[in-house]
Structure formats: C-alpha cells, structure tokens
C-alpha cells in the first residue's frame, strides 16, 4: 500500500526492478568495457613500433636479438626483433628478468618510447618458454 492508498501492481513492480537491475548491469558493463579500452596497451611488433609516439605504452612482442644483450649497472639493454623479419628496436630494462630470458627467446614487455629507444616498465617482461607444450624434436 502506498501512503495515498493505491496499490502497486506486483507485476509492474517486478518489471521496474528488472529494468533497474538490467540498467545497472548495462552501466557497469559499459564502465568495464570503456576502462579496458582506455587502460590497455596495444600489442605491437618491433617494425610497428618504429614510428611510435611517446605518449602511451605498448606491449612489445618479439624475439631477443642474438648478441644484443648488454648489462650496464643495474640496467639491461637488448634489442627485440620481429618474430619473422629482421627489424628490431632497442629496449632498456631495469630489474630482475624472468628465468627463461635469453637471446633468441620470445618476450613480451610493456614499453614506452624515450628518445631513440624504448624503456620497459618494471616487472612487465614476460618470457615465452619454448620448452613447454611444444613438439620440439630432440637434437
């Protein structure tokens, strides 16, 4: 009963509740979707990053170029090249790298452009380990 004395149709009330709940769900899903597009870093290969701008971060994927790994102080410098191709970009990374990191391995690292090269975000380096789940033949 409302104060005024008229009754609210239960079916109507349920419909209103349903619409309100669905509306809230849609709003939340919208926020989720919007934030994921604004907060994400696009995945790029080295050749796609040659003309990247410095404003945003990218997920750089590729292979660590053979002979390119250098240590200077606590910073690691290496070049990441296209999985298929020869183009590569220089990356400097500070911090501990994953166990499987070495030349020739596939890596994914979140980077930002800084002057001529790219700087990796701490703890963003992931190494793809080729020894698991592949059908590598014994040598």
């Amino acid at each position: 009963m409302r104060p005024g004395g008229e009754t609210v149709d239960p079916a109507r009330r349920r419909r209103i509740r349903l619409v309100a709940a669905l509306g809230a769900a849609v709003l939340l899903a919208g926020a989720l979707a919007y934030s994921s597009f604004t907060a994400s870093s696009p995945a790029k290969s080295p050749s796609q990053l040659l003309h990247a701008d410095g404003a945003r971060s990218y997920q750089l994927t590729g292979t660590v170029l053979a002979g390119s790994v250098r240590r200077a102080g606590g910073t690691l410098g290496f070049r990441v090249r296209d999985r298929t191709g020869t183009r590569s970009v220089p990356v400097s990374y500070t911090g501990v790298v994953p166990e499987a990191f070495r030349e020739g391995r596939e890596v994914i690292v979140t980077v930002r452009r800084q002057r001529a090269g790219f700087v990796g975000e701490p703890d963003s380096l992931i190494t793809k380990c080729p020894s698991k789940f592949t059908t590598r033949k014994p040598s």
Binding site: R14, L28, A29, L32, A33, S35, S36, F37, A39, S40, S41, P42, A43, K44, Q59, T61, R71, G73, G74, T94, G95, V96, V97, P98, E99, A100, R102, E106, I108, T110, D123, S124, I126, T127, K128, C129, P130, S131, K132, F133, T134, T135, R136, K137, P138, S139
Partner: protein, 717 residues
C-alpha cells in the same frame, strides 16, 4: 607395449561411439538394457584409458626413448620423481591425462546414480562419452602420445628445469581433475534439459561432483600460486596471466553454483540460473583447457603454435549453442516456484553472492580475452594489465567477504528486523574495532581498500564464530552434551553447512593475506658486492659471500645473505641460481653450453606468520665469460673429464672474483596467511564433501513442486 597403447586408444574410440549410440537408442526406444549397456561402456572406457595412461607413465619411468614424447620431455638424468610427472608436461600426455580423469570421474558419477533418473543419466553418459570421444580423436590424429621415433635416440631432452618443482607432481592433475569433474554437472544439466526433468534431482545427484570439481580446482590454483611464489623468481603469487585466469573463471562460477543450488533445493527458485551456471562451468572448464593448449593468448604458460585451436573452438561453439538452444526451448519448465519475498533472507544473500561471483568471473573473462575483443573492435590487439583487474576485483572481493558473513546469519524465507540488531551487533563491533585499532597504526590508513578488507574479514569471522557458538549452545541445551561434544556433533550432523562456513573463514583469512601482502609489500632490486648492505622494509640485508655447487645436472651459484633488524641477526639466507646445460653445443660452445641453458631460481626465504623475507639472486657471469670463451676455443673436443675440470675452474674463478649480484629483496607481511587460509578452505571443503548421515531431507516450504507437465502451476506462486 607402446603399440598396445595406440591400440587401446583406438579401442577407446570404438567404445565411445558404441556407448553414445547405445545410450541414446536406449532412452529414445525406452530400452533400459541399452542404457545399462551404455553405462557399462563408460566403465570399460575407464579401464581401457587407465591401462593406456599407465603404459605412457611406465614409458616415462623406464626412459623409453622409442616414444617421441618421452624423448622430447624426459631423459635418464631427469630425477626419477620428475620422470613420471614429465608425462603430463607434454601436450600429448596432458590430453591423455584429461580424458583418463574424465573417464574415471564419469564412471564414479554414473555408479552413484545407477537406478535413478535413468533418462537423464542416459543423455548425460552420452554427453560424457562425447567429450571423451573428442579428446580421443585429438590423441589419435593430432597429438599421438604413442608416436614412435626411428632411430631411437640415446638420450632425451629432459624435463624443463622450470617444471622441476614438487608442485609439478600435483598441480596439473589437480587442475585437470577440477576441469573434468565440471563436465559432470554439465552433462547432467544437458540430460535434465533434454529429458525435461529440471527439478532439483539432477542437482542432488551431481552436487557432490560440482563440489569435488571446485575442491580440486581450488587446490590446483593454490598450488600454482605457491609454485609461482617459490620458483618463478619474481616474488608474486598471482599475475592475472591468461592461464591462471582460465582456471579462476570456472572456479568462480562453480562457487556461485554451489550456493545457488541450495536455493533451488530449498525453495525451488533460480532454475534457469542454476542450469545456466552448470552449463557455463562445463564450457569454461573446456575453455580453460583450450587456452592452455592453443596459445591463442600470450601467457607465461602457453607456447608454440599448436594445431589444436580449431577443434577446441568447434567444441566450445557446439557446447554454447546446445546450452543456449536447450535452455531457451525448455524455458517454460524452468519457471521459479517461489519469488524472493524478503531482501533480508538467506536466499537474497545467496543471490547477491551469485551476482558478485558471476560479476567477478565476467571481469576476469573480459580482461583475459580483451586482446581478442580489442582486435575485433579496433583491428589491433591490446592487453589490460594487473591494475585493471585489481580495480574491479578488489571491491567485488570486499562485498563477497561481507556477504560470506551476512549469508550464514540470515534465515531462509525471511528475517525479522527485530533480530537484526542481536545478530549483527557483535560482527559490526568487531569490524569497527579493527577499523579504529588499525587506522591509527602508521601507514595502514593510507591503503583504504586493504583496511576495508581487514574490517570486512573481522566482521565475517565474528559472524561465523557467533553462528557456530549459538548452534553449539542450542544443541547443548537440547541434549545436555558437553560443549566440545555438542560442537563436534553440530558440525558432524550438518557437514555441508559447517564445512561451508569453514570455507568462508578460510577465504576471509586468505584475502587478508592477499590484501596485506599486496598493499604493504616492500620490494627492492639491489645490485651488491660482498660486504654491501641494502635496506628493505626495515631490514638490513648484507651480501656476505658467493657460494657454488657442482652437481650431476646443474651448476649452482648462490649468495650468502645476512638479514638483520636494528643490528639484531634475524636470518641467514642463501638464494641461488641453478644453471642447466644447453643441448645447443654448436651455438654456445663446449663449455659455454653449461652456462647458457635454462636456469632456475632457488629462493632464500624466511617465512613467518608476521612476514616473509623473500630473496632471489641473479649472478653476473660476465666476469668469467672471457675464461669460458677461451676454453671453448682451446678445447673444442674436450672429453667429459676435461669438461668437468674446466667447468669447476670457471666456477672457482667466479667465487674468487666475487662479482656483483643482482638481488630482488622483498619483505611482505602476512603472506603465510594466504597458505593458511587455503588450508582452512581445503579442510572445510573436505568436511562438506564427506558423506552426510542419511536422513530425510525436507523442503522449507510445503508447496508442491512443479510437475513437468504442469508448468502453469508455478506462475501463481
């Protein structure tokens, strides 16, 4: 023996085809003997696959390199303990493990339901055999575990050093047990829909399997987290990696299901929701397997191009289409018998928890698949990182912890406002006390979400303790038993309920550990020489001297660290790195290969209830590189003895030179409570899983249940 393995797989396919045909024909033609025969086909399949799996494991243990999969994933130098586990490090072996576990769990489920729900079970066994058939086809045609090698190599590649951890023995079988057990509620849900028997009976018959799936998957996730913390050398236990997320999605959905089915059992509500959750759980479990196998998303787990993507996508599409089609076509049967009458009722709290859990699963799903979503929308792949997940998951986890305290205190059907104060006064006071107590402690108030989690956990722990205490008092008054006896009897007679409450306690404790270790962790990456000291989280960590050890399998280079606080010795830690030789002699040289293979981190860990001091070391090898290069040039054909001599000389020079070492030093509070909370969850789940004494179960309401032929009667209630 191995050709027997291939023959067994072929036989398995024949059994599966027969069993599906017999089950479907039996139920369609009303010939129970054919249904029975279909059921026996499942038992036969379990026997055949047990033998096939045993043959594969035996080949690994015996180092039978005539099998390609053994040569590629094991070696005679792989420790015996890990040789058996190496069977599931291979794609072929893990698929065989999957289908073997599926056949065993299916047999158990069908054994439990024999003589009941014959029509539902007939369709369910056909669905389960269909899953088994899918995996058997993969094993026979795309990933043959019994493929032979000619000529037979003398030595194998060996198990990847990263997988040499005791968890390797248990983590994959636990995860796969969880995934395959989720197939059982899925199959029975499909059976119930086809047979139009959507009352609570299919739920009662499979509830224990859903709980077992949740239990094993939970243990698998926990072991994975512990493994990551102890082995991967980055100091975390959860990275929102796609493969981790893949296991979390069915687990969250399963948690929702285990709660919402109680509403259907007690109140006859939420039928569409429950059956949809069961179907979603099964589909997400297959999706999880697919994510690991396909390498479709970048992950630390899934690697190499796999040929299994398309078959899995097809299977998942079929599962989704069948699920949606059946639920829509049976929607009239799935009407609720009751409506939600009060927001202050246990069913309302369960509904809230279901929305939060499904919301969580959706957040994880969206974030995990975002690279594919963004590629579809914008044309380029993009990924969201851990901060994005944390932003949504943290508040939802807070609500969940609160609800896990509120739900048990509310009654089915409704709750008088008068009882509100007496029920929630103590939990609210506990939450407030924690708020007041911790807000004044330096720094904690700066992390409001962590503080909120501590308060929510205090609320929930008090609410559940109060429930337990009140139940014990009531029983004591009724029976005159002593308090401990009354408590034990209370729990023993309501295992499902009190097992569940124990799980709530465990989750609250676990999330306190997660909140504290995330918000108040101190991390420092330090580059030190012997004698140097780095401070982290109030501790002084001094690098004393390098260590070394030469083993048959690996070279270990480590560092002795002295941990002290305000001048007082706390612990001596020896983090190290183990170098396994590479097989690539041409690329790295005769001696260089010993230092350029895979390497693993052995932590120096000082764990206590208050905090963990976690250290990892990454030695700098550049100081010995000239010696290695020189040796490679001078001894290109060194024999084993000379190799051993040169390697030990290199290691000795490393220790003498004592070069800089990169350390990661972490001081993390309350990490131990994550594992303690996990153990409490496992204990609670075991209490709930334990068979309850048989007794007549009654519905809370006396309203007659809806009969399949008369769906209209529910509309009025």
């Amino acid at each position: 023996m191995t050709s027997l393995g291939s023959a067994l797989l072929a036989l398995a396919l024949v059994i599966e085809a027969y069993g599906i045909g017999a089950s479907v024909y039996g139920v369609r033609a009303r010939r129970p003997e054919w249904i029975e025969s279909g059921r026996r086909a499942v038992y036969a399949l379990a026997a055949v696959l047990t033998l096939a799996f045993a043959i594969l494991v035996a080949a690994f243990v015996r180092s039978d390199f005539s099998l390609a999969v053994v040569a590629e994933h094991s070696s005679t130098t792989t420790p015996a303990f890990y040789r058996a586990a190496a069977a599931w490090s291979a794609q072929e072996g893990s698929l065989l493990l999957w289908v073997w576990l599926l056949s065993v769990w299916s047999s158990l489920a069908l054994l439990q339901t024999r003589g009941r729900m014959r029509d539902v079970a007939a369709y369910a066994q056909a669905v389960l055999l269909g899953f088994a058939g899918f995996f058997t086809v993969l094993l026979l045609f795309l990933a043959d575990p019994f493929e032979r090698l000619h000529p037979v190599p003398q030595q194998g590649v060996g198990l990847s050093p990263l997988l040499r951890h005791p968890s390797m023995m248990f983590h994959p079988p636990m995860l796969y047990s969880g995934y395959t057990l989720f197939a059982i509620p899925f199959a029975f849900a499909i059976g119930a829909l086809i047979a139009r028997r959507v009352d609570a009976q299919w739920i009662r018959s499979t509830r224990r399997f859903a709980l077992a799936a949740w239990f094993f998957l939970g243990i698998g996730i926990l072991l994975g987290a512990r493994w990551s913390y102890a082995e991967l050398g980055w100091g975390g236990y959860w990275a929102w990696d796609p493969v981790e997320n893949a296991s979390l999605m069915p687990w969250l959905t399963g948690t929702a299901f285990l709660h919402s089915i109680m509403i259907q059992e007690k109140r006859g509500m939420l039928k569409v929701w429950n059956i949809s959750l069961a179907l979603a759980m099964g589909t997400l479990a297959v999706l999880g397997t697919f994510l690991v196998r396909s390498g479709i998303l970048d992950s630390i787990h899934a690697f190499g191009a796999s040929t299994l993507g398309l078959p899995f996508v097809t299977l998942i599409a079929v599962m989704i289409a069948a699920s949606v089609g059946l639920v829509v076509s049976r929607r009239d049967l799935l009407r609720s018998e009751h409506r939600l009458t009060s927001l202050l009722s246990r069913e309302a709290a369960f509904l809230g928890n279901n929305l939060v859990l499904v919301g969580l699963a959706f957040v994880v799903f969206w974030g995990t698949f975002f690279p594919l979503i963004s590629e579809a929308v914008t044309g380029s792949k993009a990924a969201v990182g851990p901060p994005w997940f944390d932003r949504y998951v943290t508040p939802l986890a807070l609500v969940l912890v609160l609800l896990s305290g509120i739900g048990p205190a509310l009654a089915w059907g409704g709750f008088s406002r008068a009882r509100l104060a007496s029920t929630f006064a103590a939990p609210l006071v506990a939450g407030l006390l924690v708020l007041l107590g911790l807000a004044s402690v330096g720094g904690i108030a700066r992390k409001p979400l962590a503080l909120a989690m501590f308060c929510a956990a205090a609320f929930t722990l008090t609410a559940i303790s109060q429930e337990l205490w009140r139940g014990t008092l009531a029983r004591r008054a009724l029976t005159g038993e002593a308090t401990p006896v009354a408590l034990a009897a209370l729990v023993g007679r309501n295992r499902r309920r009190y097992g569940g409450y124990t799980v709530h306690v465990g989750i609250a404790v676990l999330l306190v550990g997660v909140a504290a270790s995330t918000a108040f962790q101190h991390v420092r990456d330090a580059r030190m020489r012997p004698g140097d000291t780095a401070s982290v989280g109030g501790y002084d960590i001094t690098y004393l001297r390098p260590t070394s050890a030469l083993g048959a399998e690996k070279i270990t280079l480590g560092a002795v660290l002295n941990v002290s606080k305000a001048g007082r010795h706390v612990a001596t830690l020896i983090p190290s790195r183990g170098y396994y030789p590479s097989l690539d002699e041409a690329g790295f040289g005769r001696i260089g290969r010993f230092f350029n293979g895979d390497s693993t981190s052995e932590l120096g860990l000082h764990a206590s209830l208050a905090r963990d001091i976690w250290t990892a070391a990454q030695p700098e090898l550049s100081v010995v590189e000239p010696i290695i290069k020189d040796a490679d040039r001078r001894f290109p054909d060194a024999n084993a003895q000379l190799e051993g001599f040169v390697v030990s000389t290199v290691v000795r020079r490393y220790v003498q030179a004592a070069p800089v070492v990169d350390f990661r030093l972490i001081v993390s509070p309350l990490v131990a409570w994550i594992w303690i909370g996990g153990v409490i969850v496992v204990g609670g789940a075991m209490v709930a899983l334990w068979p309850a004494p048989r007794r007549v179960r009654s519905r809370v309401t006396s309203t007659p249940s809806v009969t399949p032929g008369n769906p209209g009667s529910s509309a009025a209630s």
